[in-house]
Symmetry: C2
Subunit: 96 residues, 2 copies
Amino acid sequence: MADIFEALVAPARRAILDVLRERDGQTLFEICSRLTMTQNLTLTRQAISQHLDVLESAGLLSTKREGRYKYHYLNTKPLELIVERWLKFNPKRNEK
Amino acid sequence: MADIFEALVAPARRAILDVLRERDGQTLFEICSRLTMTQNLTLTRQAISQHLDVLESAGLLSTKREGRYKYHYLNTKPLELIVERWLKFNPKRNEK
DNA sequence: TTGACAGGCAAGTGGCCACTTGCATATCAT
DNA sequence: ATGATATGCAAGTGGCCACTTGCCTGTCAA
């Protein structure tokens, strides 16, 4: 749970999720250029690579290696934990 | 949007939301003791007060002052932005 | 096989944030 | 009025994280 928020606290990483939502299964370089083009975010390739590692550790994306390409796929499952924790109706609430 | 994640990245602040979900409209001191009791989190009153300020700035809670008491009320509306941004079905996705 | 291309590893740095400490203000009861 | 209670303000500090720089590894085409 903590991983999710640590992952999402960096604006760059949120932008990466948006970019993957534009098109799923992109490579690192595709994500780089798309961040610059559509999100107005210019970072070095290494910076973005590190962001991708963090997002993957948090389970927010998965990867598949093919030859020299590595594709990145969005996974929003962990975000549902937020809904579970605070947005769902809680029958115990205000009972005391 | 950034405010929400900056607010939620601190475990203490997430615990505060949980505590307010147990019982809404608590004072600072109530939140302090409840964090210690039910969340196993021991922080100084000032630290928690600062956390409350951050949460309020992010719109995650509202306050009402009455005499020397200040009551804190949970507001989960901003969290719905997360659902809007990444969890809702996006018809444009994968179109290219 | 050699160059170009896609990605990975690791160390260094600057800035920000969580937390503490110390003092101050405001409200209420006696 | 005076002490207790509830909260607020402000400065200081240590640690962590985003980002860069420099170099290395692996894959493919000519």
